[in-house]
Amino acid sequence: MKKAGKVHKPTTTRKRLFLFILFGWLLLILGDRVGDLELYQGSFVATYALAITSIVLLTGYSGQLSLGQSALMAVGAYAGALSIFNAGWHPVVGLIMSALVAGVFGLVLGLVAARLSGPYLAGTTLALAISLPTLANQFPILGAEEGISFDVGPSPARFGEDFSQYKWFFWISALAALIMVFFIVNLLTSRYGRTFKAVRDNPVAAQLSGINVGRLKVNAFAISSGVAGLSGGLLVMLISGVSPSAFPLSLSFSLLGAAVVTGLYSLKGVILGGLVLVAIPEIADSLVSRIGGSEGFTTVLPGFIVSALLILAVVFTPNGPGHLLKKHH
């Protein structure tokens, strides 16, 4: 912890790049030491962390509350799946398309959203989250209920025979998440990123200082949508197919919950958020196997734990756990 009064030196981009590469390298080493199950779970952690990043960016930094993040993830997922499955493009291009198409979609949506505030935006995005996945049933090219496959193919031969599919998933998702988060962190610490915080904290003052609040909100929506789209693409890569049922409304709510639990105003907690989302069903399972219980009990326990966490987070650390630590020192 830094001492009070000491001037805080901002982390430079180069230093941050070094930290990200170091972290990625540590992940690679770790990936070699653990089994397939852990790798698979790790891929989900990276994917969820990315989705939570999109919420932190939109809600924490630009003050727009969206309940439709799962819909934007679905847009990205379908865009990626179509690029790979129908157009036959390289999986990496497919994932880039996930981010791009969702970003453009978010740009259009953001033009509407910038006019709306608070509950109106929440309502619109909520309606989007329930309606968009069912739209997929309307168009045969999107594969209706069964969906379409999202196959990134086996790991390249040069990595050797015992390089498992799960390790390949982990590499892709961790790398994609790291690159994207690096980009977002740099954006937010830049001069442009500071205007986000200005608008969030006081839109009127920001406007008076010459910031175009409307355009900024639209941009934030578009970038956040792109990030959500990439995480949607990664998510369906992990379950190797995209269908309307992969993006229920509850996904939006879980992600928002995880974002609140680990801190809406800082990107530092996003990995923790991903871990929470992956770990809770596991914890609930082990709890149930220890104390025993009916099938109904097993089904509702994860929901109970998540909800209790949400409420505790709002009551005790409304600005994130990091904020609480800062206050105590």
């Binding site: 309606a127 919950g257 709002v314 600005n319």
Partner: protein, 298 residues
């Protein structure tokens, strides 16, 4: 022709149910500036209480009264012992906007989990108190029954009672005053906090009624009212979130749009229609159809 008549009547009865939920949302929004997602949980909980009463007494009507009363009590308890302490703790910063949403979402999860613990997660059903067989019009049976008529009548009576309460009584005046300007209401000697709790109670009763009228057509399970909550919320937003009339109008617009598009175009258009109607309304009027002129700063 019969298809058209069926569509109109079904739209009315669907719209009526959405209206009850929309009113519950609007009442809470007006009194505390909270979108109460827990309403789905509260309504389904009261319906489970009603279900238990039916199991014990065999009477739908007793169950209906118990459900509405317990809805009011649960609403008041949630505001007094859950929302008010949270508002006391979370006062500043952008989290103020998000905290109530997250808190009510968390509460929704807790209520649904508790229902799962107590009643289990399997589907239950509630027998409708009157015939659900469709009427015969020009020789063909249409999808509108005594039960749908009953729903319409109940909702109409509830609207009437609420309108009388709000327009003709002192309590109604206090409710409107605290919603319009809490500070001035407080200065005029209105106990704003208690009035807010009363708003939550009326909303809870409205949700309880919605549950008991909605569930007999479907099944009862912990998440049974989620869809209705979303539709009620959309209807409330269409209506502008501030007026009860707006909520009913929004619900009817939504009911007609959904039923007509699913009848005449494709049954898969249920949700997309809701979204399209909402976005069209908000593009023209960003604060809903019947929002007051004065901006209220959500």
């Amino acid at each position: 022709m019969t298809q058209f008549i069926t569509a109109v009547l079904t739209s009315l009865s669907s719209g009526a149910i959405y209206a009850l939920m929309a009113i519950a949302i609007v009442l809470v929004w007006r009194s505390t500036r909270v979108i109460n997602f827990a309403q789905a949980g509260q309504a389904v909980l009261t319906t489970y209480i009603g279900y238990t009463v039916i199991q014990r007494t065999g009477s739908f009507w007793v169950a209906l009264v118990v459900a509405v009363v317990s809805g009011a009590v649960i609403g008041a308890v949630i505001d007094r012992f859950f929302m008010r302490p949270i508002f006391k703790r979370v006062k500043s910063g952008p989290i103020v906007m998000i905290a109530p949403v997250v808190a009510t979402l968390g509460l929704l999860g807790i209520i649904q989990a508790v229902i799962g613990f107590v009643w289990g997660i399997t589907n239950q059903s509630i027998e409708a108190p009157v015939s659900t067989g469709g009427y015969k019009v020009m020789g063909t049976v249409i999808a509108f029954s005594n039960y749908n008529l009953l729903v319409l009548v109940f909702v109409a009576v509830a609207m009437l009672l609420l309108t009388l309460l709000f327009q003709k009584t002192n309590i109604g005046l206090a409710l409107r005053a605290s919603a319009y300007s809490p500070e001035i209401a407080k200065l005029s000697g209105i106990k704003v906090d208690s009035v807010r709790t009363l708003g939550w109670a009326i909303a809870g009763a409205s949700g309880g009624l919605a549950g008991m009228l909605y569930i007999p057509g479907y099944f009862l399970y912990p998440n049974a009212m989620d869809l209705l909550l979303v539709l009620g919320f959309i209807a409330a937003v269409i209506g502008g979130l501030e007026s009860l009339f707006g909520a009913v109008a929004g619900a009817m617009i939504l009911g007609f749009a959904i039923i007509f598009s699913t009848t005449y175009i494709s049954p898969k258009l249920f949700f997309p229609t809701a979204f399209i109607v909402l976005i069209l309304v908000l593009l023209v009027k960003p604060a809903g159809l019947f929002a007051p002129k004065k901006s209220r700063g959500a």
